[in-house]
């Protein structure tokens, strides 16, 4: 039986997460769903799983439109959803988790423990005869792969037609993945279709019969897996923003200053960067697919409390990795992604937001602030960044995305003087209109010209192509060979990101 989603539109306040997506899921195949963060994968499976009701569009099962209404409703229509984070109660045993909510009872209130254990064991054996798991242990004590299997068995309890598996192997060590792969492959033969979301392209390729690519909430294509190479998939997934105006390239000759950041043997989490050098005046682009490690690396340069380094030098001085306050003192600044979450306070005025890093600029001594001084410096930064607002006393939340981003950058110019020699930008133009984009690029070039070394981590390849002097592609938590400006091209970026040599 097929489950068809037709013309699904999901409108959230201020953003359209799905824009007319139509896909058919079958009960005899593994259907891979891929796309970058924000492409709409999660929204789509949440619609399929009943957690979200689409703004417009239909869910059609066996030729009839249905209203799922809730995850429970979806389940009654044969759709089970195994979420990414996992939904097990870690204090309960495997058997108790499998039959959670459907325990065999005695007189309505008491649970028949022995029957429960037997039924759970039967379910496991029925579905996966070759898997052995100790169902009498609390799931918190079990390996991650076994927990996933328990969750899948629970999902299969009601004999669904389709099981949604959201990043099932994301938390698994490599050797446990194999086991789960076999389980996933076995399901379609038993009449249970799988909708698989994964960030690992190789996994999607290896497991899926059909692959659907989403990008920016739109359906890009649905093809047999055999007809799509990994490189082709990357190309389909990546968002491209148009606009030839953005192509104004930064010229490489600008970047000839002294070394402002030098790293040897950098380890942070699973990311390992053996060698990294940034010079004054240069803009280095970091690219990679989601999970490749480039964002984590960029972030760790400003908040490096958890990092280990054989050697770290900022502006010629050897320092130890540390918390943001220490890294700032050494001269490292960060303009983070998700500005409303990591950088700004919506209820504050522009002036207060700008003064967040260096309030002492507006101080008349002894930590006492002068509104007049603050206003003067905030005004200077706002003119420099061309922020469009009534006054520095306006509330930040009233600004557009582009102007908010200018304030997020302006925080590091307010009262900073020449203090920051290394500036890190993560997704610097997310949710920013074209006009503000060009202004932000111009500002980055201006900063570089004053001798700041700039690192930009972005998933917008056109952005990287137009502002960076050189690019370091990341794949599998490691930096690959550097790409110099004269070799910049989308094809080369994509090849480097998918880990295949160009």
């Amino acid at each position: 039986m097929d489950i068809r989603l037709t013309d699904i539109v999901m409108q959230f306040p201020g953003t359209r997460a799905l824009d007319g997506v139509s896909v058919t899921f079958r009960d005899d195949e593994v259907h891979g769903l891929i796309g970058e963060n924000g492409a709409g994968k999660s929204t789509l499976v949440n619609v399929l799983g009943g957690s979200l009701t689409p703004t417009t569009g239909q869910v059609v099962i066996g030729g009839r439109p249905v209203r799922l209404g809730s995850p429970h409703g979806a389940l009654t229509h044969g759709i089970a959803h195994v979420s990414q984070e996992g939904n097990l109660v870690s204090g309960l045993t495997g058997a108790e988790n499998i039959l959670l909510g459907h325990e065999p009872r005695l007189g309505g209130a008491l649970i028949r423990t022995r029957a429960l254990r037997r039924q759970a064991a039967d379910l496991l054996r029925e579905w996966f005869p070759r898997v052995s798991i100790d169902l009498s242990r609390p799931v918190g004590d079990l390996p991650m792969a076994e927990r996933k299997v328990i969750e899948i068995v629970r999902a299969l309890r009601g004999n669904p037609k389709i099981v949604i598996l959201d990043e099932p192997t994301a938390t698994l060590p490599a050797r446990e993945k194999e086991q789960l792969w076999q389980i996933i492959r076995s399901l379609p033969k038993r009449g249970v279709g799988v909708v698989l979301i994964s960030h690992f392209l190789s996994e999607i390729k290896a497991l899926s019969d059909t692959i659907t690519v989403l990008r920016d909430g739109r359906h890009i294509c649905t093809e047999p897996a055999a007809s799509l190479s990994e490189e082709k998939l990357v190309e389909l997934m990546l968002r491209r923003t148009g606009g030839a105006a953005l192509k104004a390239k930064t010229t490489a000759s600008e970047a000839q200053g002294p070394v402002v950041l030098m790293l040897r043997g950098w380890h942070v989490g699973a990311v390992e960067v053996p060698d990294f050098t940034l010079r004054a005046g240069e803009i280095v682009g970091l690219i990679g697919l989601t999970g490749a490690g480039h964002f984590g690396f960029a972030r760790s340069l400003h908040n490096s409390a958890g990092a280990r380094a054989a050697r770290m030098e900022v502006a010629g001085k050897a320092i130890a990795p540390g918390r943001p306050a220490q890294m700032q003192a050494a001269g490292v600044a960060l303009v983070p992604d998700h500005r409303m979450e990591y950088a700004l306070i919506g209820e504050w005025t522009l002036r207060e937001n700008l003064a967040m890093v260096h309030p002492e600029q507006g101080s008349i001594g002894a930590g006492i602030l002068s509104p007049r001084r603050e206003e003067a410096e905030a005004g200077r930064v706002m003119r420099l960044m061309n922020v469009k607002a009534h006054s520095s006393g306006q509330l930040l939340k009233e600004l557009s995305g582009g102007n908010k981003q200018k304030i997020s950058i302006g925080k590091w110019l307010y009262g900073a003087g020449e203090r920051y020699r290394v500036m890190i930008f993560i997704e610097p133009t997310e949710g920013v209109d074209i006009g503000a984009k060009t202004e932000i690029y111009a500002e980055m070039r201006r900063l570089a010209a004053t001798g700041v070394g700039i690192i930009i981590a972005s998933s917008d390849l056109l952005e990287i192509e137009s502002v960076a002097h050189r690019v370091i592609p990341f794949a599998n938590q490691r930096p690959g060979p550097e790409i110099p400006q004269e070799r910049f091209s989308e094809a080369i970026f994509i090849a480097a990101m998918s880990g295949t040599a160009a």
Binding site: N303, P324, A325, E341, L344, E360
Partner: protein, 328 residues
Amino acid sequence: MSEIATSPQIDRVFGLVRKDHIQRYSTLVVLALMVLGFSLFVGRFLTSQNVMNIAQQISMLTIVGAGLTFGFAAREMDLSVGFTVGLAGVLVPLLLVGGTPLPLALLAGLGAGLLVGLCNAFFVTVIGIPSLIATLAAGSILFGINFLMTGGRAIYGGLPDSYLWLGQGRLLGIPVLAWFMLGAVAVAWFVMERTIFGRYIYAVGGNQKAAELSGVQVRRYRAASLVVCSLFAVVAGMLLAARLGSGQPNAGERYLLDGLATVFIGMTMLRPGTATVLGTFFGALFIGIINNGLNLMGMDTYIQSIVKGAIILVAVAVVSRSTKLNLL
């Protein structure tokens, strides 16, 4: 991206009056109407004697509330303040009765507040217990200590006049307590609105992640906000005992609930959703006037308690409907 540029909303009915202005000042309007109502219908309400009375009644509450405002601004709640008020309220009279000179006794009171604040801060920011729980436990401990110190009895007799003057005397025709209240409000307002310290307290409460990524030592300011709570509470406690003329181990308890209420009411005005010193001051005035008015009308304290509870519910409902109210 879920950001939409919101331009200031112009209300159709009120024309040029911005909607957020209506929100900001509606509580003050209610306060004014209340004053008007009591003045018209309760004969003894608007006499200078009664106004001084209200000032005295709300001064300790305002001081406790001003301290709590620091905590709320940093998104920390101190549920031990009532017992901290009680602690200073028995410790200082005990020392005075035992012959300790007044300045030393007052310093000891402040020292006790500092100690309580540092303990709270230690468990919250170093050990990592949510302030709601840590200060609840601290309150229970302080409650026990207060009764242990006094053997459960009130301490009276032998308190020096200079001490009693703080709670009962007048200066330039105005109760000394009111001077303390105004001083506390002025200091707290200045620190919160005009210093880097206050700015960072607000930053930590407004967006902890952003504050940290801007180089603010988040833990230090969360700790400081709790220390300030305790310091203001001991000042209130010392004044309370002076006003009562005795040290009573359970006298401070009501300042927890009323203190929280002043902050909640304050959060409905000026900068809705944010605890501000002036908002808290008006909140204390609100509660003081209700208590006083109902008193003059002959309502008993149980009724007052019901009315106050209802007001807290309304205040919090107003705030949480219009802004996101993230208390913890």
